[in-house]
């Protein structure tokens, strides 16, 4: 055992002392922050608005003394689009050809009934998908509103209600009275699943490379003459786990510091919304008090609310459990694969069987997100090779205890098998060079 710790110590120190570790640990949180902040900043600072000149050729209508133009002055400019108006199509098109605007929207005057014909002419700058659909939707919306106003004589207030029928829709858990936050749970589950996937690949890959390095540098021959080969494999697996843990702890600490800085600057971000009691057929239900003048809910508030409504101790505990178990499962398999690697042979044949189940699990994540209690989700969350990812996706939605127990027990059982298998492959593979190493050859070792 003493030797195991000597190995762990060396592996740990040699990895932590690497420049890449330092850089990744330090830059990780900063890069993450930049990745979030930069696009916003860039979008705001450099984006030029797409300049459209609207030519409305539909005949004006006069209602109660007002001249109503269908489209003129109705388009809303935003951070991406800038609308201006002209009455003369040839003049507008001349401006477009002269490069003084990006596009001309002509709404043609057709004598017959709908459809209204509208043309978006563009010059050098073809409109992007977003701009095109935005212009189209606005055109439709304006036309609809104008029809309602002119043909059906509706007031502005009527039209507003039709467009936004002001219904507050609540999804409540009957046992707890809490709001369902399926969207955020879905995102949380997917993020957790992805984190597990990412780290298992990252760290499993490190174990594999590290084993392969010792094999190709041939130092393994000296090492195995000093210690049992399983110690080498597990020393590595433990050391990489500790390195990973160190890195994650540092990331969390640094990220918390960053978030701390943000909340100091913006103290209101995580404050709770006020509750309001409503009488519904003799029952009182508490809902968020909605500010009806405000069109959008405060997204940050909703996140804060959800964060408090989710069973975090369970999720964190399960995340740790599946992270560790998943890591040990895949790290031992990756370690075994590392022992098979050789410069002379085709290495992908060895890595594929280990990576495919994980990739398969990732492919299944969207399906599991949509139906977290479907049979595919339930099975995949209990089958060891996919359970570390899939179960994490399901956990925010609540998972029956028996499924958790079965999933963890089968994972443990599978790990025992994987470790046995890995130790055996490692022991033999680490000393094999060239020799057309293949799975067929590996199977032979087990037949003996």
């Amino acid at each position: 055992m003493n030797k195991l710790w000597i190995i762990v110590k060396r592996e740990y120190l040699s990895k932590v002392k690497k420049k890449s570790f330092f850089v990744l640990t330090l830059l990780g949180p900063i890069l993450m922050t930049l990745l979030i902040v930069l696009p916003v900043v860039l979008q705001e600072s450099t984006k030029e608005r797409y300049h459209v000149i609207v030519v409305d050729e539909i005949e004006k209508t006069v209602i109660e003394g007002d001249t109503i133009s269908f489209f003129k002055g109705k388009f809303k400019s935003n951070e991406n689009l800038l609308f201006e108006y002209s009455d003369d199509i040839t003049e507008a098109q001349a401006l477009l050809e002269g490069g003084l605007c990006d596009a001309v929207l002509e709404i043609a005057n057709t004598n017959d009934k709908p459809p209204i014909k509208s043309f978006l002419f563009y010059g050098e700058n073809e409109p992007g998908m977003d701009a095109k659909s935005d212009i189209k939707e606005q055109t439709k919306e304006i036309y609809k509103n104008s029809v309602l106003r002119v043909d059906y004589n509706m007031t502005k207030e009527d039209i507003k209600i039709i467009n936004d029928p002001q219904i507050d829709f609540y999804t409540k858990d009957i046992r707890t009275g809490q709001d369902s936050k399926a969207e955020i749970k879905t995102v949380l589950g997917a993020v957790l699943g992805f984190v597990i996937y990412f780290f298992i690949f990252l760290f499993g890959g490190q174990v594999m490379r590290s084993v392969g390095e010792e094999k190709t540098s041939r130092i393994v021959e000296v090492l195995t003459s000093s210690v049992k080969s399983v110690y080498l494999l597990f020393g590595k697996i433990i050391a990489v786990a500790l390195v990973g843990l160190t890195q994650i702890v540092l990331w969390i600490v640094l990220t918390l510091l960053l978030i701390g800085g943000v909340s100091l600057a913006e103290p209101d971000i995580f404050s709770a919304p006020e509750k309001q009691e409503i009488q519904v057929s003799q029952r009182v239900i508490s809902v968020d008090s909605l500010d009806l003048t405000q069109e959008k809910d405060n997204f940050a508030q909703e996140i804060g609310e959800t964060i408090r409504s989710i069973n975090f101790p369970l999720i964190i505990a399960m995340f740790v459990v599946y992270f560790i178990l998943g890591y040990f499962l895949y790290a031992s398999l990756f370690g075994a694969v590392g022992a098979l690697l050789d410069n002379d042979t085709d290495n992908s044949q060895f890595t594929l069987p280990v990576t495919v189940p994980m990739i398969f699990a990732m492919i299944c994540v969207p399906m599991v997100m949509n139906t977290p209690t479907g049979s595919v989700a339930v099975w995949l969350s209990m089958i060891p090779l996919t359970s570390p990812v899939i179960m994490l996706v399901r956990i925010p939605f609540g998972v029956p205890v028996w499924q958790l127990v079965v999933s963890i027990l089968s994972l443990l059982l599978f790990i025992a098998g994987a470790i046995w298998l890995a130790a055996k492959i490692y022991r033999t593979g680490i000393l094999m060079y060239g020799k057309n190493l293949s799975w067929k050859e590996v199977i032979k070792w087990f037949k003996k």
Partner: protein, 308 residues
């Protein structure tokens, strides 16, 4: 003489092929023991079993009186044919790490490392990364890692490969020093010259089997063909030779003094007759028995093994 290692009817197979097949021999304590054999004969497999990297399928290996076990690991030092160290690690770190794995404690390991670094004049290199060293330097470092824990049994697999003649000689002297200090050396090589120079006893493995073993001097005696080299002043010796003696070759000394060098095949017990008859004819400058070189013995034994 005590044996430090006893290989007893050991067999080891990979898949269907037998790499070692019922091999037995003993390694006497305090000697340099040659483990010889052509490529692919099973030497490395045998060495790996002695190092407990792999276990025999059948048979036993004894270290001194005991069955070979984990407690013997610190008593063995191994320099594999394929050398390798951690390229990105500092020289001193690699040496200390490997010493620790052999059970040496930190301070003691450091003291001995300093001793060897000084001896090999590579003290300035301790803080460099292994990859910055020349190949010869790396070999020296690897040699140090093999001997730093003062093992009772040293196993060198082709130790001279990769060394220039100067360093090879240094290494040879070190191996003999270690022997003088009481260590036993198992020495695996193709270089038969070095076998003659430093080995006391050998075993020859071919096609997984032990085909020849014994003390180098005994083996040479066994393989001698009764041939003698005779240098005489006159070349007129044919007439006086007793019957039964065969002249294999005869030529004039190339140094130009005119002496005649003959190789004779003389039946056992006739030495005195031959000498006295020749002395009647001419003066004898030298007369010696020709013993076969290990190289010849190696080739002859392996070839005859193949014919069978």
């Amino acid at each position: 003489m005590k044996n430090i290692l006893q290989i007893d009817n050991v067999t080891k197979s990979y898949a269907k092929k037998k790499a070692i097949d019922g091999v037995s021999f003993c390694v006497p304590e305090g000697e340099v023991f040659g483990l010889l054999g052509p490529n692919g004969a099973g030497k490395t497999t045998l060495i790996r079993m002695i190092n407990q990297i792999t276990m025999p399928d059948e048979g036993m290996i004894y270290f001194g009186e005991d069955k070979l076990s984990e407690k013997h690991i610190p008593l063995v030092g191994y320099l594999p044919e394929e050398r390798g160290l951690y390229k990105k690690m500092k020289v001193s770190e690699v040496v200390l790490y490997l010493a620790e794995l052999k059970g040496l404690k930190g301070l003691e390991a450091k003291r001995r490392m300093d001793f060897w670094f000084e001896k090999f004049e590579i003290k300035d290199w301790w803080n460099k990364k292994v990859e910055e060293l020349s190949k010869g330097m790396q070999q020296k470092v690897q040699f140090i890692t093999t001997v730093i824990h003062k093992p009772k049994l040293l196993i060198f697999d082709e130790p001279f490969s990769g060394f220039d003649p100067l360093n090879a000689n240094l290494l040879k002297q070190e191996i003999l020093n270690l022997k003088r200090e009481g260590a036993t050396v198992i020495f695996s090589t193709h270089n038969m010259e070095s076998v003659e120079e430093i080995c006391d006893a050998i075993v020859l493995i071919n096609s997984a089997k032990n085909i020849l073993q014994g003390r180098v001097s005994d083996i040479k005696q066994n393989f001698k063909k009764g041939e003698y080299e005779l240098i005489t002043v006159s070349s007129q010796i044919e007439k006086v030779l007793p019957s039964g003696v065969e002249i294999i070759s005869k030529k004039e000394d190339e140094n130009g003094i005119g002496n005649c060098i003959s190789v004779l095949k003389i039946p056992e017990g006739m030495n005195a007759d031959v000498l006295s008859s020749i002395l009647k004819q001419t003066d004898i400058i030298s007369y010696r028995e020709i013993l076969p070189s290990m190289n010849e013995i190696f080739i002859q034994t392996v070839k005859s093994g193949k014919q069978q």
